[in-house]
Symmetry: none
Subunit: 253 residues, 2 copies
DNA sequence: CCTTTTGATATGTATATACATAATCGTCAC
DNA sequence: GTGACGATTATGTATATACATATCAAAAGG
């Protein structure tokens, strides 16, 4: 039990570049092996005391990592027997990134787009929160309406990170909606959707021609390109207009 | 010091019935206060050393609870400043929406299930439309509530096609929610989700303890097994409780 | 007045230790 | 054989302690 401490001489440097704490490193080492299939479902992963020896750390540290893996559902822990890789029982859910024009036309209605407001500004704290941007920089804020026939169909509030897409500063977005414009220019590597129900606030209710407080479906999307935040957009649909449909088939694992 | 008593008098007995460890209890106490609105977004929750005193335990125990709350996204921790309530955004990845228990427990709250109504009947035209069933036959209709802590979290209305799952007729569904029960019995080959916003109708608003007309997120799912309709379920979530999150990134630990 | 330094503070991580609890194994008596 | 029972084992939870680190505020210096 010399203990020297540190142990951590290097902490997973070469790989991700991130600085990981020890229990995080143990956690990611193990989940890597599980997700890669090296440790198949049913496989017994090393006991806590074995990992303690392997990483030269205390059992508490190993325990923290394994507890989190168990909570995440990757492993199952059984007293006296050990910890076992669980069969992944999640279905891959794929929600398509949708273009509103296509949605509207699928309904058989004529599509029309209208740009309401556009402003270029230095990012506020709110802007940075929405974009998950950590440094200040210029952004482009847009507000648009999408029509199905004569009726407003969706309201769009968008932020574009001009550091990532400088060309956007030259574009008025009178003719082309920002969504299709961006798709044609910026390859996105990751996106996150948030879907929720809200009561329409006054400004948006007026734009959508519905009553203030009426239920609306809000879809927010954040898009990244190679680790850089590109855009954040919030679509608000009047409730009666919109249903998201997603079809899943089980993939099992 | 001393302090015993207060909060700790009962350990969540009457409520969830579960026996909670101390850090779980701290965690659920706090998240309850956040979700109930007692501690609004931005509010600074007590420092670790204050909670240490309140619960008469070590800082590690408090730290474990707060770390989990931070990971679940309910609070934000800032060194030197303290821990602050974040805007509630309970996240359920789309891949997990089928099991409400897991969602609730991910928030650190005790889960409870309650069956409200159950009736067996010959399928009405409405029933057949919901199930996409073309011939008449017996169905089981269920109405249930799912609780997170003491508050209702989701309302469930379900139809089960008894022609596809005859064993369901024997089950009271007092203990087991129909979702988990079906998953264990019927292999499903396809599912379709519909997600939309609605205004809460009187009956459901009363069950969820919200105001009639308040915006709610509704998720409907239809499930097939080998071409046969199995079940249709409609979950209604109070808006402030629920955000669906779908993320597309290379998965990591 | 503005910048820099210093100190206080709250969280972040890790250790060694202790005891509790659940499950399994081996032994011994019947 | 087999049933009872204690020993063993791995995990579950909690404690006291230690040091690292980020950050803010006040003191010190130009």
């Amino acid at each position: 039990m010399s203990m020297i401490a540190t142990t951590s001489a290097d902490s997973g440097s070469a790989d991700g570049g991130e600085v990981l704490s020890l229990h995080q490193r143990i956690l990611s080492d193990i989940s890597e092996r599980i997700l890669s299939g090296a440790w198949a479902p049913g496989h017994r992963i090393p006991f806590e005391h074995e990992l303690t020896a392997e990483y030269n750390c205390s059992r508490m540290t190993v325990n923290k990592a394994l507890s989190q893996l168990a909570k995440a559902g990757l492993i199952e822990r059984r007293r006296r027997s050990g910890s076992f890789v669980r069969r992944p029982q999640s279905q891959a859910a794929v929600l398509e990134i949708h273009d509103i024009r296509i949605e509207v036309e699928a309904l058989g209605l004529p599509y029309r787009y209208e740009r309401m407001a556009r402003s270029r500004r230095r990012s506020s704290a709110d802007d940075r929160a929405l974009l998950e941007l950590d440094v200040a920089g210029p952004v482009l804020a847009l507000e648009c309406l999408h029509f199905a026939g004569k009726r407003p169909f969706a309201h769009e509030q968008r932020l574009i990170n001009l550091a990532a897409v400088p060309e956007a500063a030259e574009e008025a977005f009178f003719e082309t909606a920002p969504g299709p414009w961006l798709i044609g220019r910026v390859p996105w590597s990751a996106a996150e959707h948030r879907i929720r129900a809200v009561a329409a606030e006054k400004h948006i209710a007026a734009a959508l021609d519905i009553e203030t407080g009426a239920p609306c479906l809000v879809i927010e999307r954040r898009t990244w390109s190679a680790e850089h935040p590109v855009t954040h957009v919030r679509f608000t649909y009047a409730a009666e207009n919109h249903t998201l449909v997603a079809r899943f088939t089980p993939s099992q694992g």
